[in-house]
Amino acid sequence: MSTMTFGRAINAGLRKAMEDDPKVLLMGEDIGKLGGVFRITDGLQKDFGAHRVIDTPLAEAAIMGTAVGLAYRGFRPVCEIQFDGFIYPGFDQIVCQVAKLHYRTQGRVKMPITIRVPFGGGIGSPEHHSESPEAYFTHTSGLRVVAVSNPQDAYTMIRQAIACDDPVLYFEPKRRYHTKGEVEEGGALSLAPSMESARTVAAGTDVTLVTYGPLVSTALDAATAAADDGVSIEVIDLRSLAPVDYAVVEASVRRTGRLVITHEAAQSGGLGAEIAASITERCFNFLEAAPVRVTGFDIPYPASKLEKHHLPDLDRILDGVDRALGRPNSQSGLEG
């Protein structure tokens, strides 16, 4: 056990994966000497060499497409996309190749590619640096999508993502990179909780609050604040966004009868819609209110001086909880 930052935990997980399997290699823009703009790959090129930590030319389609070719040859590439908003030039290769090749070839060609994406806002950056594009990928059959919320998961789940024979989008909440936590290093992956399991991070009885990535800690703060107010919130960290571990969410909602989902991405067509729909299908008779979504608005990510209005925060989450509870003190009224 040691205390380390979120960013450092990913670094340690990458290092372990590279030590464990010589076929693992990292590729991306500025990940070598610089160690990435967030320093997540700091020191790895020095220790593993430029052939295993590859600074690529500036082209995301090519990063993804050459990763596909490397996977064809038995490598396990870990690609860094510098910021969420720069993944789109690689979208075609991700959607048409990375996601589909295993199916296309009836399982003959594996695509054990990990795509690391620092995502989300709250860091005061200009456009394209604060997006939450996860729903594009959770809707893409053939991909797995995870989002990590704490250093221990960051460490373990990057190892699991790399070890997984399927392609994995690994979303890193960039505004939490400096958060510290206890991390147990090493350990057999077979003993770790499955990358696809959701985790109840606070038990509660009145409302189920589902989230992932950067908002997990905000959700926990909300639960604490609500407790003072006599409301007991159960907080679930999804960890896996595709597939979602509905068993855990379902069991909780069957007890609480109320569901709030929060994410930074735009509301319409976001992951919250998928969760609301699926949980309604699974627990209709247990629901005492419609699932509530507390999300970013249907807008391009705004200028940084406006982001506080866009991003769900503690107050907006509590307002959502009030709505789910049908409480008159909801700031936004009860009309859904």
Binding site: A61, G65, Y103, G107
Partner: protein
């Protein structure tokens, strides 16, 4: 006006040639050394390959016309480009192609039925890429050039002396992927060959819409040496590919070959080229037929006799017959195939959908009052 180390041989009119349209063997100082060892016997083998893949192509086209295939992308006219290049490869080289390289797949040793599986609609890919070291056809234009580049990076990392070959068309050169592939290949100096079959058309678009200058010229701008060869000349294509392979195997990095050829048929069996191209153009290219010229050359030297030609034609017919039999013998995939292999590891979302659908299908057999699916 130099371009660093990377130059292009065969630019402009002077596309490199070893066998003229009329079947006369001409020499070329740059290419000759690469095919000095090719005997008449071997040239007859190349002739035979071309005859066979043309026959496969005709049969597949016929199968489509007869409703046995959903679609077929003919290679008619491109036999020399495909055979000349593919026959230069070793088994441990790896090919990434588009949908039109059925001649290449044939050289790689594809099972005939596997060749047809996709086009009959039975599966999204026909063969195991690792069995013949060739990826299954890529439909997204140009995407495979990046895969080849990545694979070549893997070869380099493994310290092997094999090469990756990307086949693509003239139209593909406009896609960002193809250009990015050249950037990466040049940056990492990986053993990849960019083999562009300029068949003059991208569906209805003439190559001049993609580029005013010869496509081989594109490579120099990325620091990649290139050759522009007569793509209807099987010897010239063989030589150029050997040149590129020699570079690849010896750590010389990527190369680019433009094989200037012509798509004599429609884009696919769904296409009607009379809507957009002049019949005269086709006639002009008929006179440059890749098979006829080798036949003329070999006949003139006596290396190919009428009896041999008949024998080869008969062998080709045999292949066509096998192809047809394999095609007609294909059994439709089972419904469960729709769910198979989306993931390599179990996926809860999909499992639920599959269970649901199985129950749904089972309902029909249980309850025959409703129409069947």
């Amino acid at each position: 006006m130099g371009h660093g180390e990377a130059g292009t041989a065969g630019q402009g009119q002077d596309m490199l040639q070893l066998i003229t349209d009329k079947g006369v063997r001409v020499s070329h100082p740059e290419l000759d050394p690469y095919i000095a060892d090719v005997t008449d016997e071997e040239l007859v083998k190349l002739y035979e390959d071309m005859v066979v893949v043309r026959r496969i192509d005709t049969e597949a086209t016929a199968l489509q016309r007869q409703g046995e295939l959903a679609l077929w992308p003919p290679l008619l006219g491109q036999e020399a480009s495909q055979i000349g290049s593919a026959r230069a490869l070793r088994p441990d080289d790896f090919v990434f192609s588009s949908y039109r390289e059925n001649g290449v797949a044939y050289c790689r040793g594809v099972d005939l039925t596997d060749l047809i599986r996709v086009w009959r609609g039975n599966a999204s890919s026909g063969w195991d890429p690792y069995e013949i070291n060739m990826a299954t056809p890529q439909i997204i234009i140009g995407a495979q050039t990046l895969h080849a580049t990545g694979y070549a990076l893997g070869i380099q990392q493994d310290g092997a002396d094999s090469a990756a070959v990307a086949y693509f068309g003239d139209g593909a050169t406009s896609e960002g992927d193809v250009n990015e592939a050249m950037v990466f290949a040049a940056s990492f100096q990986v053993p990849v060959i960019f083999f562009c079959q300029n068949n003059h058309w991208a569906i209805s678009e003439p190559v001049g819409l993609q580029s005013h200058i010869p496509l081989a010229g594109r490579a120099a701008g990325f620091g990649i040496p290139s050759m522009r060869v007569d793509g209807n000349d099987v010897l010239a294509v063989l030589a150029a590919t050997r040149w590129a392979l020699e570079r690849a195997r010896s750590g010389g990095g990527p190369s680019f070959i433009e094989a200037v050829t012509y798509r004599m048929g429609p884009h696919t069996t769904a296409d009607d080229p009379t809507r957009y191209r002049d019949a005269n153009e086709l006639e002009d290219w008929r006179a440059k037929d890749p098979i006829a010229r080798v036949a003329a050359l070999l006949e003139a030297s006596g290396a190919l006799t009428p009896a041999m030609e008949e024998q080869i034609a008969a062998a080709a017919d045999g292949v066509a017959k096998d192809l047809r039999a394999g095609c007609l013998g294909l059994v439709d995939p089972e419904p469960e195939a729709v769910f198979a292999h989306v993931y390599a590891t179990p996926n809860s979302w999909l499992e639920r959908q599959q269970e649901h659908y199985s129950r749904y299908l089972a309902g029909f057999s249980a309850d025959t009052t409703e129409g069947s699916n």
